[in-house]
């Protein structure tokens, strides 16, 4: 009986060691730092919200982009009409006629709206197109030139928590 107890105790100790390794042990690559919340700049995450929206528009995922908007934005800007939203986005952001588009995302700025903290972020879309200009009608000579136009969108970010958010759009300038 004593021998049996000793054997079982040894097995139990070995199993407990394996269990502890399983719970606490990990390879160096899979460790995360708890300091991450202090070091991590959450404004980077807010930039992702706007990037996410723009990407969806650029790849014609209008359903998903539309679902990211606040109810007020849907109503005020698009009369709750998704078709209208699609047309507007095609015209203002996607703009097939423009050959090159460059997006620049500013940092999200904290602001107060109706006593609630929200974030405001501007995105600049630079459209570049090529045009032709006739310089000599008789000789049918023409010159190719590049022209640019800038669309600015002000995103308002209503965040309940990290990755739990809704957006509101405001086109500032064309």
């Amino acid at each position: 009986m004593n021998n049996k107890l000793i054997k079982k105790s040894i097995i139990l100790v070995i199993l407990i060691i394996v269990l502890l390794i399983n719970v606490f042990g990990a390879s160096e690559n899979s460790r995360y730092s708890t300091k991450i919340t202090q070091d991590y700049d959450s404004s980077e995450i807010k930039k992702d919200y706007a990037r996410n929206f723009i990407n969806l528009i650029m790849y014609a995922k209008y359903d998903e982009a539309y679902s990211m908007l606040t109810d007020t934005c849907k109503k005020d800007l698009f009369d709750n009409d998704q078709k209208k939203f699609e047309e507007y986005m095609k015209l203002k952001i996607y703009d097939q006629g423009k050959i090159k588009k460059t997006f620049s995302y500013e940092d999200a700025v904290e602001c107060i709206e109706d006593d609630k903290t929200i974030y405001s972020q501007q995105v600049h879309i630079l459209h570049r197109s090529l045009g032709t200009m006739i310089i000599d009608e008789e000789a049918m000579g023409y010159d190719i030139y590049e022209y640019t136009s800038v669309t600015m969108i002000n995103f308002k970010i209503y965040e309940n928590g990290a990755y739990d958010y809704k957006l509101s759009l405001q086109f500032i300038e064309d």
């Binding site: 009986m1 004593n2 049996k4 107890l5 079982k8 105790s9 097995i11 139990l12 199993l15 407990i16 394996v18 269990l19 399983n22 719970v23 606490f24 042990g25 990990a26 390879s27 160096e28 690559n29 899979s30 460790r31 995360y32 730092s33 708890t34 991450i36 919340t37 991590y40 959450s42 995450i45 992702d48 990037r51 996410n52 990407n55 969806l56 790849y59 995922k61 928590g161 990290a162 990755y163 739990d164």
Partner: protein, 160 residues
């Protein structure tokens, strides 16, 4: 009599630990894209940021085909088929996803106490491919401050 009780208790502890260890080995099998919950658990900002960082680290290694590092992040049961991860890196290469900047974490949900579901959108450099959507499930081992990637939809897609 006392020895019999101790003997029985030891047996129970041994069985329980063995069951737990076996479960922890096969646990990743239970998590896949079929897990769709109606109500996810409430997630804190701190958890979101940790999960975001872990997933981005994993994605970076996948994009750069760092097999050794990936091996440290995947559960024991997946370590026998590392070819899958080579194919995954190859897929990223083919889709012209070359850096983490092309990947955006678009949503994080908490499935249960330690398991999180992350939606990722990767913008392919090849315009024809558009956005590649991915779902990744990770487990945070909070006591050991480490994580394991239980499921990667791209990895389990046919042909990858």
């Amino acid at each position: 009599m006392g020895k019999k009780v101790i003997n029985n208790l030891l047996s129970i502890f041994i069985v329980l630990i063995v069951i737990y260890l076996i479960y922890s080995i096969i646990e990743p099998v239970f998590y896949n894209k079929e897990i769709v919950k109606q109500n996810y658990d409430k997630i804190t900002d701190e958890e979101s940021l940790i999960v975001d960082s872990c997933v981005k680290t994993y994605l970076e290694y996948c994009i750069n085909n760092n097999q050794k590092e990936i091996k440290g992040m995947i559960p024991f049961i997946n370590k026998f088929n590392m070819n899958k991860y080579t194919n995954l890196s190859q897929m990223y290469k083919e889709k012209e996803i070359e850096s983490l900047d092309q990947c955006i974490v678009s949503g994080i949900k908490k499935i249960n106490n330690s398991i999180y579901q992350v939606e990722v959108q990767s913008r392919s450099g090849n315009v024809v491919d558009g956005i590649i959507k991915n779902t990744i499930i990770i487990k945070l081992k909070k006591m050991g401050h480490s994580f394991k990637v239980y499921y990667d939809m791209n990895l389990n897609e046919e042909g990858v």
